[in-house]
Amino acid sequence: MKKVLALVMALTLAFTLAACGSNGGSTAETDSTSQTAVSEAPENPVIRVSTTTSVNDSGLLPYLLPAFEQETGYRVEVQSAGTGAALQKAKDGNADLVLVHAKASEEEFISEGYGVERLPFMYNYFVIVGPKDDPTGIKGSDSAASAFTRIRMKGAKFVSRGDESGTHKAELKIWGETAPDPESESWYISAGQGMGACLTMASEQQAYCLTDKATFLSMKDSLDLDIVLAESEDMKNTYSLIAVNPEKIDGLNTDGAKAFIDWMLGEEASALIAKYGEEEYGAPLFYLIEE
């Protein structure tokens, strides 16, 4: 019996600790409520954003959100996954808006009636990274397509996301221009993992890889890779905001989604985005689309 009692006590201890944790959280919530009192309190304060790893894991959203939350009193819940999963969560009715980067999938999302309007607002370039000595001679290629042709001809190792993410789709589009499909080739490694894991794999295997610049720069120190091709026009990567359509999906926080989109397209967010990354990497990671 004593042992059981002890166990109950141990679990109570664990629970107390857990309760402490949640107390900490409610303090934070109280903080934000008191800020809310300053601005006007929104009726439904939670905005669910479904976005891609390159926006969230690169630190851009964690960098922008505190300013938005403080100003408006909204609380933003961010889920990040590949673009495919991010759009699916919204189709399932589990997000108020999406922030993704795969034009074809976005247009399909809207034509199926799930999205209201595609609002492209920032872009950057994918880059091709590879072994520092560039044994396949990718440097100096005039486009990503010609670089990929060279990789295919030489049978150089190439790591692909293989996860239906925006990056994966952009990669497949470039391969499409060099046809046929590389997926069955022995040099083509379809990892099925996030960008970071793919870059680590490429570094371990001294392979080439298509990546967003933000993730690569944030990991550069731990990778034995260099950028071998940057900023070619066929590697342009456009990010869009799409509010989920309240006529198709019920229970949405449409006001919240609108407030978030307006703020993201506004001057303050633009100024913040344009500066992001300059301090740490010497160049901004995202560029604004000029109207």
Partner: protein, 228 residues
């Protein structure tokens, strides 16, 4: 070695986000353990002591559920609680509560199976002996419970260990939302995906320390009790 240093620095920096993650982890694991034991202990005892028609089938079912891959459990719960799912009206997707539901789907079969096999092998002879000695019902129950305390604690700690270590199901139904549903394992996944391997390992070390602390607290209290 870097990871070890990082783990301790992190733990003793009392970083607010880390404390929050630990808090959510413990809350989720505690309730998952509690609910699955409330269902699984009586069910396992029943299976271990009584014979009834279809018992073999129920046992096979439980053994099959023990092999349920966590991602599949996560998907099942996702489809139940998604906005347009049968339980979508409850608005529980991406909360700690729904993570507990997914965990219970995974852990209850384990608790039930462990309890029933223990009861069959160990508790039943105790009950038979008690009957043979002509003890009253109350005394029989007391004797059985006191003989079973070791089993109880190992079943409960096993359930706790499983729930604190789970990642596949909780990332699907919890969404790994910062401040809200991010737990130690999904934070480790995130850092691994970002390529911060040593930081991810540091978080893993902290997870082990927490698991060890809970286990140690359990056995330490036991020891102190029996000494006193």
């Amino acid at each position: 070695m870097d990871s070890f240093k990082q783990a301790f620095d992190l733990l003793f920096s009392f970083d607010r986000e880390l404390l929050r993650i630990i808090g959510v982890t413990l809350r989720m694991s505690f309730f998952s353990t509690a609910v699955s034991c409330i269902i699984g202990l009586p069910l396992g005892t029943l299976l271990g002591t009584h014979s009834f028609r279809g018992k073999a089938f129920v046992k096979k079912l439980i053994n099959t559920l023990m092999g349920l891959p966590p991602v599949v459990a996560g998907l099942i719960v996702y489809f139940l609680f998604t906005h347009y799912g049968p339980l979508g009206k409850l608005n529980m997707l991406f909360t700690v509560r729904v993570m507990v539901v997914a965990q219970c789907l995974l852990i209850t079969p384990v608790v039930t199976a462990l309890t029933s096999s223990f009861v069959e092998e160990r508790a039943r002879p105790v009950i038979d002996t008690a009957k043979g000695m002509g003890l009253s019902g109350r005394k029989t129950l007391f004797l059985t419970l006191s003989e079973s305390r070791g089993m109880l604690s190992s079943v409960v700690l096993n359930a706790f260990g499983r729930s604190i270590a789970e990642v596949g199901a909780v990332s699907i139904v919890g969404g790994n939302i910062q401040w809200k549903t991010r737990v130690m394992t999904t934070a480790i996944m995130l850092e691994t995906n970002k390529g911060n391997f040593s930081f991810a390992l540091a978080l893993g070390i902290i997870l082990l320390i927490i698991a060890f602390a809970v286990n140690a607290a359990a056995s330490f209290t036991v020891k102190e009790k029996s000494d006193g």
